[in-house]
């Protein structure tokens, strides 16, 4: 097998050093201000994704057994995408755990509904009160979710 090693020109490297520009801290501040304008729409997208997860995969969903785990994975990914404004509530981490659970259900070809229900309940709680919870309690809850999503019955 032929392996070619080389250093291609990096245009970004020369552009970023051009005269003028802005301070890094000002760039970050400008970006944060821009993102802040999206708070409302991001929260609406977050609640929409959480609502769809509950409608399709919640305990009361009549056809949840016929759903596929890939759909749950994509919805949980959407929650992470827009959870910038609620990361202090831990929803992003709960959604990551749900992604891991959906991924393992897809690989196993079988649902673990108890684990799904625990995640959905926890995400509702975190959405409503996550930011107000003492940090230790929130971390313990997220750690518990992680253990549930990564539980392998054969390992006991």
């Amino acid at each position: 097998m032929t392996v070619r090693k080389f250093r291609p020109p990096n245009r970004l490297a020369s552009l970023i050093k051009d005269k003028g520009g802005i301070l890094a801290k000002d760039a970050v501040a400008a970006a944060e201000a821009g993102v802040e304008t999206l708070r409302e729409s991001s929260m609406a997208a977050l609640d929409e994704a959480l609502g769809e997860i509950d409608r399709r995969f919640g305990k009361a969903a009549p056809d949840r057994a016929s759903e596929n785990a890939e759909a749950l994975y994509l919805l949980a990914s959407r929650v992470i995408d827009v959870s910038l404004f609620v990361s202090d509530a831990g929803i992003d981490k709960a959604a990551m755990s749900l992604c891991g659970l959906a991924d393992s259900c897809a690989a196993a070809g079988a649902w673990r509904w108890d684990a799904v229900d625990v995640h959905l309940n926890a995400m509702k709680l975190l959405r409503a009160h996550g930011a107000e919870l003492p940090g230790e309690q929130r971390d313990a809850m997220l750690q518990g979710l992680y253990q549930v999503s990564h539980y392998k019955p054969e390992e006991g």
Binding site: K5, N10, L12
Partner: protein
């Protein structure tokens, strides 16, 4: 390794042409706002890999920031395509991939896709700017072979794994061995460094 980005560092992305790709509109809006806030004027958005490929065929970019999880064709396949078929002006440009969660089956694929960096979602402006600065300053070699095209994945060169001889031609053995000559004197070391006053 490139140095870290200091808040007082000056960056100029006004003339950079950047492509951002994410299938989730709300997420793409956040990404676009962040990149615009960094001073980028030439920003192109794509919600599908097909749209991104069409842009790659007609424009020259300086940076791509792409989501990983996308339906039909994902970010990993997109970067693999870019590195092989993206045309000479675009196939070697820096790429930052964004992902909220990586499937177990995709961990190695993600490592081998050929991106310069993978950043975790939810995205924060500070982290993304640090990574853009990093990929602009890095000096990694590009590797091109049958199974991989992208920046050298082994950029932390800390020698071969313990107990192995390594696979690189320039890998040195972990054992340093005995000294072949007497220790250098302080004067000899000072002469190597040649410290000197300069007029600024």
């Amino acid at each position: 390794m490139p140095e870290a980005l200091l808040p007082s560092a000056r960056i100029n992305l006004e003339r950079a042409t950047v492509l951002v790709l994410d299938d989730n509109g709300a997420s793409l809006d956040i990404l676009s706002q962040v990149v615009s806030g960094f001073g980028v004027k030439q920003l192109y958005r794509a919600e599908t890999v097909a749209d991104a490929q069409a842009l790659i065929r007609t424009k020259t970019f300086d940076l791509i920031v792409s989501d990983v999880q996308m339906p039909v064709t994902d970010g990993i396949e997109f970067i693999e395509w870019l590195r092989r078929e993206g045309g000479e002006t675009n196939r070697y440009i820096p790429v930052i991939l964004l992902t909220g969660h990586t499937r177990t089956s995709q961990i190695f694929k993600l490592r081998d896709a050929g991106s310069n960096y993978v950043v975790a979602k939810p995205l924060t402006p500070k982290v993304l700017l640090e990574r853009i600065f990093w990929v602009a300053r890095e000096e990694r070699q590009f590797i091109e072979c049958d199974s991989f095209i992208g920046p050298d994945r082994r950029f932390k060169h800390e020698g071969p794994p313990p107990g192995t001889d390594g696979r690189r031609k320039d890998d040195l053995p972990a054992e340093v061995g005995d000294a072949q000559t007497p220790n250098m004197s302080d004067d000899e070391i000072a002469n190597l460094m040649r410290p000197a006053k300069v007029q600024i």
